[in-house]
């Protein structure tokens, strides 16, 4: 409709002679730039970006990769300051994404592709989950045999208590004071698991290593410096595994959290049309299929079959998968006092005062 209206307007503006040929259809996006702020490695997203370029050569994607915290602060600063900021924000720091939407930084996007998302993967018709990503444990198979490998958090706590010497500085996890995703995962653990307190207590006792960058943790596990990495994003582990690293991926059998990478179109997007086009592509069957096959991410859309098949394991091998629902509850742990207290408790338990 819009396209036709524009064409007619163009015809009026130019001369009637130019209107004989049928509309190009894509020419109206010519020279458009869509700015994406994202926490995801561009390596993970390269396949979909390349495919989108093939589909919409007239739209140029400007892909800005940032850590979750700085991304949040920069985006808010730029929008509040009235500067042109991102058209689309894409992040696995779901809590920060939800807060941005709650505070009115997003705009509505409606389409049948959006309807095909499960209800827990969208909110307000503004923010949409694109991929599920299981949160796993990575194990060095040389240090821990299949029998010794803990399958649940309770197993892990018992093992940590029973084999203090073995585990000394040989377990690693996020430094949640530095990583937003790590903080989100720890907070969800605290909410979901009654063993979480005991777990960090035990980790503290064996002087667990903490990492701001989870890639380094995976490297350390693969190199044998660390026996087990706790709360690792499945996509990172999977891609290292395919690169030939010595790793075993464990999906905790008590429950396996799944992080949802969520995207929204900025309310003040300089190029909303292009932004909606890109978001729609990411949720489309084509985009979802490429995310699933080429980027090793589980598609969020219910239209893409075998959502978890691409994770490299049978769905049955995954414990109860608990995707973290997108909703206002996520803002709880962003509360200033709550966060301070949670981090203080964590530091105390981990012995990092």
């Amino acid at each position: 409709m819009m396209r036709i209206a524009r064409m007619i307007w163009a015809c009026l503006a130019l001369t009637l002679a130019a209107c004989g040929s049928p509309p190009g259809g894509r020419g109206d996006h010519a020279g458009q730039v869509v700015t994406v702020y994202s926490t995801t490695d561009s390596a993970v997203f390269n396949p979909v970006i390349a495919d989108f370029r093939r589909l919409h050569p007239e739209i140029r994607l400007r892909y800005v990769e940032l850590d979750a915290g700085p991304l949040f602060e920069r985006f808010v600063r730029e929008v509040d300051g009235g500067q042109g900021s991102a058209d689309i924000v894409l992040s696995s720091a779901m809590d920060l994404q939800v807060k941005l939407v709650n505070d009115g930084y997003a705009q509505k996007h409606s389409s049948s592709a959006a309807d095909a998302l499960p209800p827990a993967a969208k909110w307000r018709g503004e923010i949409f989950g694109l991929t599920f990503e299981p949160v796993v444990m990575v194990v060095n198979p040389d240090l821990l045999s299949a029998e010794e490998t803990p399958r649940t958090r309770l197993d892990l706590v018992r093992s940590l208590r029973d084999r203090l010497d073995f585990w000394k500085r040989r377990i690693g996890t996020y430094d949640i004071t530095q990583s937003n995703v790590g903080y989100l995962l720890a907070a969800q653990d605290a909410r979901q698991s009654s063993e979480f307190g005991a777990l960090i207590e035990s980790m503290g006792k064996v002087e667990a290593r903490t990492y701001a960058n989870i890639g380094v943790l995976i490297d350390d596990v693969a190199a044998g410096r660390v026996a087990l990495g706790y709360n690792v994003l499945g996509s990172y582990a999977k891609s290292r595994l395919t690169q030939g690293a010595r790793l075993r991926i464990v999906y905790p059998e008590d429950y396996t959290l799944a992080v949802v990478r969520a995207a929204f179109v900025s309310r003040t997007a300089p190029n909303p049309q292009g932004a909606h086009a890109f978001l729609e592509y990411l949720m489309s069957i084509r985009g979802q299929r490429i995310l699933a096959t080429r980027s090793d991410l589980a598609a969020a859309s219910t239209r893409v079959p075998g959502q978890y098949g691409r994770l490299g394991v049978q769905g049955a091998a995954i414990g109860p998968l608990r995707p973290i629902p997108i909703g206002p509850g996520l803002m709880t742990y962003l509360d200033k006092q709550k966060r301070e207290r949670f981090l203080a408790n964590w530091r105390t338990a981990m012995g990092r005062n």
Binding site: V101, G104, R124, G125, G327, M331, K336, Q337, R341
Partner: protein, 464 residues
Amino acid sequence: MRLKGFRSIRGALLWRLGIVFAAGMGALYLAATSYAKFAADSSFDQLLTGSAGSIAETLSITPGEVRVDIPYAALDMLAAAPDDRVFYRVIGVDGKTVTGYSDLPFDTAATRRGGATGSASFFDARYRGEAVRFVTLGREVRVGGRSGWVWVQVGQTRAARSQLARQLTIRALLPIVAMTVLAGAVVWASVGRAMRPLEKVGQDLAARNAADLSPIATNVPREVETLIAAVNQFMGRLDKNMNVLRTFIADAAHQLRTPLAALLVQIRAAETNVGPARKDSLAAAGLSAKRLARLVDQLLSDAVVAHRAEARHTAPFDLKKVIEHSLHDALPLVGDADVRFTTELPEAVMLGDEVMVAEAVKNLLHNALVHGAADDRREQVVEVLLRRVGPTLELSVSDSGHGMAAEAIDAAGRRFNTGNPAGGGVGLGLAIVRQVAESHGGSLRVENRAGGGGLRVTLEFAAA
């Protein structure tokens, strides 16, 4: 008569019913909207209160500082309104925001009211471009030996409330709309049903023989019984009038035939006779023709009176002048008679039809002059007296004839009833007078004068 502005009963009913239902629906819409908003607010307000309460439960005081530990459920439970944004803050004893959104609007008055009773207070305000419903909950705490209030404020946008309110309103209105449509259909159908007997009456009347004036026998609803009764009564009257007319025509024909027959005989006699006998026959024929003329005159007069009685031309006029005119007109009949008109009234105004009354007076004078002739040895006297008795004007005409037999007096005033079969009258004059009297609400009195001095006819009218 047609209802003003409406061509059909059905249309009128539907129109009025429509207005009533539209007004009812408007009122109901307002009531439903306000009730729905109230219902939606009260159910979602409970959620807000629950959220604020669960935050307030975690209040703790570390030396000099208020602390809260926002429960996950506090915000998550508000996701029952799936698309609504959520805002909260906790305000410390010093009035500063302890945690949460520090720029939330705050309704101090509403908060004080709620705070005084220790219960939650609610208010609506705009925040970040949307209408937001807020609850504030106060808790009295002691910090550093002094007591003060800590406020927990939780807000949520109104999308789910509005949606619920809309649904409730629609559900409340749907039955009303259905009822309206149903009522319309019922009115449509039942008016059709109710009108069916009337249609049948119409068909019956249309199919009737023109002479058939029998009552309508169709069963009709009670509401139109009066109409049918009136029609039946009217037809009854018409039937009676027709019968009277038929009788009259028959009588009139009979009355006309007798003098005509006599006339024919006398003319024939005149043709054959010679000399003085011929002269007598001609005289007799002339007398018969005169009587015939008089009869036709009276029939005409009767017709005029009957017509005017129907038409009712009522106006005030002076009866005295009417009498004087009639006396003047009657002069050719007077001959040797002594006619005396006595009245003390300067004028006698009454309401009525002057022409009819004039006919009546003319007939009275004619009767007195023609039939009141005395024996040859006495002088013929006609006395006309007009006086006023109370509210009544009384006109009496007396003659000096033989008067009438008692049974004839009783029958006087009926058509073709002559008081004196030998007298040559046809019995129309008094009938006309009676009709005039009756159509004016007056009366006619016929009596023999005391002492055998002839007949007195008295007419009474109401004076104006």
